[in-house]
């Protein structure tokens, strides 16, 4: 195949191979993104948008203290979720890889982790509501057990409920990549470390974590982007009492204020890109994957 080339002498095959993906990326990602960027610079009068260049939309978004509050709130969710999903993801993967010796049991348990994902996101989210509510299962349990007298309001329609739901929804995105990179660790390395006198904690810290960081990084990218782009979970689980960047964007879109929403979207994309870049700076995923 490598012998075939275009008349100019350059090989054609690689371009053909990349063409389908390039086409999809261009039409499904490129064009919409360019449209959003373009729209964020256009003028509008309340309902119609005019193709004239203006900074007004960015001025409005950047000068408003709400923007900072919104980004901080969203980043807080992202950070808390990342922390919890990494801990859970790492522990689960560690158990699956190093404690379950039988491959079949290992695969079986791994599949078990995916069972909650057989239903829709919405159902998994909404099912928390009757459980956590004021007259919900958990509160009545605590009251009957005599642990509390008044139902705990903080369980539902709160930041707690939002983060809990995120963790429930997104932990699998952490487990899978970490499991994958841990499974690649050569058991000889651990034996060698043990022979050299390393304590289990040292093995964990100096061998397993460094070798799993590709998985942690990949999982982090999934979790961070998912949380940053969400508005539905925040709206439902906080009972509308908290806002995320995207939920504020939706309020603008509902009132046809597309350019302001676009400016906000561009800002969000920039922030997420920076975060992903930072993660990639820490871990060279390409090099690690090629390993």
């Amino acid at each position: 195949m490598s012998g075939r080339s275009s008349p100019s002498g350059r090989p054609l095959a690689p371009y053909l191979q990349v063409a389908p993906l390039a086409f999809i990326m261009l039409t499904m990602v490129g064009i919409p993104l360019v449209t959003v960027v373009m729209l964020s610079f256009w003028e509008f009068d309340g309902i119609a948008v005019y193709p004239a260049f203006t900074w007004a939309n960015y001025a409005e978004v950047l000068s408003s203290p709400v923007t900072l509050t919104l980004f901080l709130a969203t980043l807080k969710y992202a950070f808390l979720t990342l922390l919890a999903t990494t801990l859970i993801g790492f522990t689960c993967s560690y158990f699956l890889v190093f404690h379950v010796r039988n491959l079949k049991v290992q695969i079986g348990l791994f599949l078990l982790c995916t069972i909650p994902f057989w239903t829709s996101n919405v159902i998994r989210m909404v099912s928390w509501i009757p459980f956590l509510g004021r007259e919900g299962l958990f509160n009545s349990m605590l009251i009957k057990a005599g642990l509390i007298e008044q139902p705990l309001d903080i369980l539902l329609y709160s930041d707690f409920a939002v983060v809990l739901t995120y963790i429930h929804l997104f932990t699998l995105f952490m487990i899978v990549p970490i499991f994958n990179s841990m499974a690649k660790i050569n058991p000889n390395l651990i034996e060698a470390a043990r022979d050299a006198g390393a304590t289990p904690a040292q093995i964990l810290w100096n061998v397993i974590i460094p070798l799993s960081k590709t998985g942690i990084a990949l999982g982090s990218i999934f979790v961070v982007t998912l949380v940053m782009g969400d508005f539905f979970v925040v709206r439902v689980m906080s009972g509308g009492q908290s806002a995320s960047v995207v939920s504020a964007m939706k309020n603008n879109i509902d009132q046809l204020y597309y350019p302001v929403a676009s400016a906000m979207a561009v800002l969000l994309v920039t922030v997420v890109l920076l975060m992903v870049t930072a993660i990639l700076r820490v871990v060279d995923i390409r090099a690690e994957l090629a390993r």
Binding site: G46, I47, A48, E60, S64, P65, V66, T69, L70, A73, I129, P130, G133, R134, E135, G136, D153, L156, Y157, R235, V236, G239, G240, Q241, S242, A243, S247, A248, N251, N252, I253, D254, Q255, L256, Y257, V260
Partner: protein, 434 residues
């Protein structure tokens, strides 16, 4: 008159005689004005006409369009869409809609897109019978209604076919044909509140701390909040439906303080959220819509749509014709608009708690018991059923808030979009994220 015979052959029901007459008259008018050159073709083709009616779920109802399609002989396709989505469609994809059921505040916002054409008042036969509440903005006793917010008459008329401005006084061209309207108030759980509630101020009463909710549609939520703040005596508004920046600031600051103090349990965005909040006892007093109260009641949970002394927040929906409608389709649309006011639809939506723009035809299509309960504020003599036959109130019960006159006659402000809307949304986002 060959067109009439052709139409008749396509007819299925006895009640079509009047419609046939009007159809023939319309044909005549069309021929006279030279719009349609060949009435025979029109008569045969009307069966092929399909009209897409798009609007919110409480206005565009499949049962109604089915009945209309059967009566009229052409097809009306219902499509539901929130007012916010519908506004976007009217502006950006006008060709996907033929008839838009817009709330008046939505109409206020999108009419100047130029994608709607005015309804010729002379072509609506019952325009003269329409309630002055909608048609002229006059109350039952002939006095002016509250002009706070988008009083329908403010956006109901336009000067010319090409104008995208609203006329100050009634003209022969309407931006929409008013259809349904109602008076909104707070919903309460009488069993959990345990005492009389008579003022909007109770929404912010510390007694119900952590047990209240507001609707998270900024333009409506802020008005409910304004009603409560004004009732508490904290603020006095020039126009709650069109606040100044200063008024918006004061309102949002007060709301942020209340939120930080834990007054609210939630801000709901959808109908079912409001129902579940109330039914689960998470909330005992909140912004609510009439059918949501009905939905809570139908679960055998007590819920009252409490009339309050400061009055109601009113809203209304009108049917608008899209600009691209012409010829046959436009005539069909007018036939449909005329059918809408003849009573079947009015009775149907009365059973959902809404009023019709021509109340007398709606009343004529209700039973005596229903008429007494829904319109006259009388005790039900037998069980009251919703449009689908489910029992929603028992014999002996009264409608919350009383009669048509008591409820619609006491509107304090109307759902609206403010001039400072953009600023308000920004501050509302701040409130929600605080």
């Amino acid at each position: 008159m060959s067109s009439e015979t052709a139409l008749k052959s396509a007819s299925h029901s006895v009640t079509r005689r009047d419609l046939l007459k009007s159809a023939a008259a319309l044909t005549g008018a069309a021929v006279g004005s030279g719009v349609i050159g060949a009435p025979m073709i029109w008569a045969q083709n009307i069966k092929d006409v399909t009209l897409n009616q798009v609007g919110p779920s409480y206005s565009v109802i499949a049962d109604i369009t089915e009945k209309a399609s059967a009566d009229l002989g052409f097809k009306i396709v219902p499509q539901t869409s929130d007012t916010t989505q519908l506004m976007a469609k009217v502006v950006n994809q006008p060709e996907t809609i033929d008839i838009a059921d817009l709330e008046f505040w939505g109409l206020q916002k999108v009419y100047r897109s130029g994608n709607l054409q005015p309804v010729e008042v002379s072509k609506i036969k019952m325009w003269g019978d329409m309630t002055p509440l909608m048609r002229d903005g006059k109350n039952f006793d002939g006095s002016d209604m509250s002009r706070q917010g988008t009083l329908p008459v403010k956006v109901l008329y336009t000067e010319s076919v090409d104008s995208v401005e609203f006329a100050a006084a009634p003209t022969g061209l309407a931006t929409a044909m008013p259809t349904i309207y109602n008076a909104d108030t707070l919903g309460i759980r009488p069993d959990l509140v345990g005492r009389e509630i008579s003022t909007w101020a109770e929404l912010f009463n510390p007694e119900f701390k952590g047990k209240t909710a507001l609707v998270n549609i900024p333009s409506i939520g802020i008005m409910d909040a304004a009603m409560a703040l004004e009732a508490r005596g904290d603020l006095k508004y020039g126009d709650k439906g069109n606040m100044t920046r200063e008024e918006i600031d004061k309102t949002i600051d007060a709301l942020i303080a209340l939120k930080k103090g834990g007054q609210f349990r939630a801000f709901w965005s959808t109908f079912d959220e409001s129902v579940n909040l109330m039914a689960a006892g998470e909330v005992v007093i909140q912004s609510m819509w009439s059918p949501a109260v009905t939905a809570v009641k139908s679960r055998n949970i007590p819920c009252v749509y409490q009339g309050l002394k400061e009055g109601y927040r009113g809203w209304g929906v009108g049917m608008s014709l899209m600009r691209h409608l012409d010829g046959l389709k436009l005539e069909a649309a007018y036939e449909y608009l005329n059918w809408y006011l003849t009573g079947w639809q009015g009775a149907f939506i009365a059973r959902q708690g809404y009023y019709s723009s021509v109340p007398q035809t709606a009343i004529a299509n209700l039973t005596e018991n229903e008429r007494g309960y829904w319109y006259e504020g009388k005790a039900a003599t037998e069980d009251i059923k919703d449009p689908y036959g489910n029992i929603m109130d028992k014999a002996g019960a009264y409608r919350d808030g009383g009669s048509f006159e008591q409820r619609m006659g006491n509107i304090a402000c109307w759902n609206a979009v403010m001039d400072e809307d953009r600023y308000m949304i920004q501050r509302w986002n701040e409130f929600v994220s605080s």
